[in-house]
Subunit: 417 residues, 2 copies
């Protein structure tokens, strides 16, 4: 029988182990592009088990490996990452980082270096990459609108100011939120101030050669959104009223409809840091598990008619409510000040199976692609904890400086993330 | 603004373009491991947009790139690939190729070379990789059973002969089929001769340290199977009787139940080459689209109670019935002799949208991860055709020698493939 001697990989990992033992301060510095080119030879690796961890206070990223539970290198110089998110190129080599300061930075996971950076607005909130991987779109607060860039060059490909007419007749530009990619090389996003949902059809290299825009009236003050995994339903949460706005992308003629009419009912306006995030919205067995607004509850809705079927009491205001990829358990993170724990719910019995204490100020969690493990960031404990999704025991811990969002490269292959 | 000069990538692609113009005969020869090491420097690439195409007559594989629609290199020396399939390591760097002759070959997509090979049985039919990526399992006809290998070293990790007792009291070994990976580091497979379904729990590094086996009685002569994307339902097709065998892995105490009782009803035994494959079984809007057995039909079943809700007439006996990742269309390939076409069905109207003619003897199709394109192999036309999934027009064509299965690296991240 054959034996595979993976010496290249081993040599690569050895210094990392030492680094980890020594704490993250001694991580190799981020590389320049020419360092990176010279270092090609020791970088032969697959990109399927890599990811980026946002270090929100220092404007840096950790390139991590989910097979070896290790940090490969820190990349610095990304500006204000106080609320940053990441999407990936279709070869899973490049990450596009959306910074809070309007910075859009392209990083190379193989050389762990910055390969492009533009400051494209004054304040941005997130972004997406098109189905074909050719376009990266950014959702901006200021000036309100969406800008689309060529994923290879970061050249501007389309500029879509979110212009609308106020009740008093004035023209204004709305903050945009909840930007996602959808099938057919589309982007969909919501206008917070205008109460609208827009679809942006990008050229797909065959039928369309110019971007096209379609506008829909939606509910008041959409603050975030999600799209179902098949890319069919776009659902926006609303600050301004009860219920949610839903657009069926298979049947846009029907316009935006209201679902879960009781959602958020009877709430006073929440402080912004208590806003539930919709990314994690999750479906198990025809049921959607969603964070309640202003209640210490996870709501269970029937996807067939969007009626409320259950409320699960939890220990705080949920921020992210995420199903494990096998849909058996629902993992919940919480808003300040009760944000030092994660609660894990059984999707069948709807009971809390375990309350985990990963550290102080838990901000995000990300499952490994097939769901055997989940990575959790604890900002104020300066660490990322890796749990086995079945035993719920920690299996590894990594040093990180004020970590927030965690993003694995398999997102490259998933619609609407 | 910044410009990214991707000269490394461009230099890499140039020779390929020339190669393609000249036909696949002049492709660079497959590399030895030392060639491969020396060539590291020009191989810095992400592995997210790569794949392997099986060349069934020549025992070779093409390493392909789905972004540039190009062949990177041919790998030779894989033995009998007349019915081969592939799974990927969790870093999306290595492919594990299951040959018909019992060969299990590990190939490196970055160096385009063979890094390990074992002949592990006399005749095998497919395989799977465990959720954590540590184990590769192979389903064998002869000797009947499953062998499990360490994914790093290809050392034997478990040997599970499919032993059963015949009606006359004799002990025999059954052919095994329909091997899939399931959540919790399990493999599930069916015993063709024994009419059983077995679950093999592999060690998961925490709770279990020894493999564990659980046996279930199933219907007669299971010939292939599928598992739902969440890893919950394992469904086996039956040669020996009408209907299908289903095991709910969330509730194994309930044992195997029969679903779609009319499935295959009234059929005489089919010639083996007309066997529908269950891999592509597909769900859109709560409906499963499944190939009829011995009828020129695609059946539509309600997933809630597995009743038959519709039959869609098609031009031949379906082999693969696959939904596009956005669930809007169902793509159908056919059995000999009507296998020179693909039919595309609208999942909502259930009408045939288009009949495509990619070439002679269409054997397999594979969607790009986000579904914008689909690759189709035509064995007797020696080519792979790439279609835009929306316009249904061909966008590229690649030379290949008797191509059959096409497997993209995003399978690394998907349960049950
Ligand atoms: C609209 C919106 C998105 C979707 C972006 C897109 O289009 O892709 C988003 C995504 C995100 C994502 C990306 C989710 C994903 O899985 O893609 C993360 C990790 C995240 C972590 C946080 N968010 Fe977020 N977030 C807001 C809004 C949003 N957050 C807020 O309004 C709020 C309350 C205040 C603010 O900073 O603007 C807020 C606070 C937080 C946090 O406090 C979190 C928990 C930690 C942090 O920022 O350091 N938000
Ligand atoms: C049980 C089984 C599997 C699942 C394997 C696993 O456990 O992963 C399978 C998978 C497959 C897969 C992998 C599917 C996937 O998407 O993972 C492919 C491409 C495939 C292409 C063919 N199969 Fe297949 N196939 C059979 C059985 C099976 N085929 C047959 O019994 C049959 C009729 C005759 C035989 O050769 O054994 C048969 C003929 C064919 C073909 O003629 C096809 C179309 C072309 C070829 O082999 O060159 N079969």
């Amino acid at each position: 029988m054959f034996r595979i001697t993976r010496c290249v990989k081993r040599m690569l990992l050895l210094p990392l182990v030492l680094v980890l033992l020594g704490g993250c301060q001694v991580l190799p510095e981020s590389r320049t592009q020419s360092d990176a080119a010279a270092a090609n030879i020791d970088n032969l690796m697959g990109t399927g088990d890599l990811g980026l961890v946002v270090e929100r206070a220092t404007g840096s990223l950790l390139v991590v490996n989910t097979s070896s539970h290790s940090v490969i290198r820190r990349i610095e110089g990304l500006g204000d990452l106080s609320h940053a998110s990441v999407v990936y190129s279709r070869d899973a080599r490049y990450g596009f980082v959306f910074g809070r300061d309007g910075g859009l930075t392209k990083v190379d996971l193989l050389t762990q270096s910055i390969v492009g950076r533009v400051i494209q607005s004054g304040n941005s909130i997130g972004g997406a990459i098109s189905q074909d991987g050719r376009y990266v779109a950014v959702s901006n607060y200021d000036p309100g609108g969406v800008k689309v860039f060529d994923a290879k060059t970061l050249e501007l490909a389309a500029d879509i100011p979110a212009t609308y007419t106020r009740e008093n007749g004035e023209t204004a530009q709305s903050k945009t939120v909840g930007l996602v990619d959808a099938p057919g090389n589309r982007f969909v996003f919501s206008l917070f101030d205008a109460g609208q949902i827009w679809i942006l059809d990008m050229p797909d290299g065959t039928s369309r050669s110019e971007p096209e825009l379609t506008r829909f009236d939606a509910g008041k003050a959409p603050y975030d959104s999600m799209i179902t995994p098949d890319g069919r339903y776009y659902i926006a949460g609303l600050f301004g009223e009860d219920g949610l706005s839903m657009l069926d992308l298979w049947n846009t003629d029907a316009g935006v409809t209201e679902i879960l009419p009781g959602y958020g009912k009877g709430e006073q306006k929440l402080p912004v840091y208590k806003m539930p995030h919709l990314e994690g919205w999750t479906v198990a067995d025809g049921r959607a598990f969603v964070p309640a607004v202003g209640h210490h509850q996870v709501l269970v809705a029937d996807m067939a008619d969007w009626s409320l079927v259950d409320k699960i009491p939890v220990q705080g205001q949920p921020v992210f409510v995420m199903a494990s990829p096998d849909n058996r358990r629902i993992w919940v993170s919480f808003a300040h000040p009760k944000n030092d724990v994660i609660q894990v719910i059984d999707s069948q019995t709807r009971e809390i199976v375990r309350t985990l204490e990963p550290g102080k100020a838990v901000l995000h969690m990300e499952f490994t692609p097939r769901g055997e493990e989940v990575w959790v960031s604890s900002r104020d404990s300066n660490r990322v904890t890796v749990y086995n999704s079945y035993t719920l025991e920690p299996v590894a811990q990594l040093d990180a400086q004020s970590p927030s969002g965690i993003f694995f490269t398999n997102r490259a292959h998933v619609l609407g993330l």
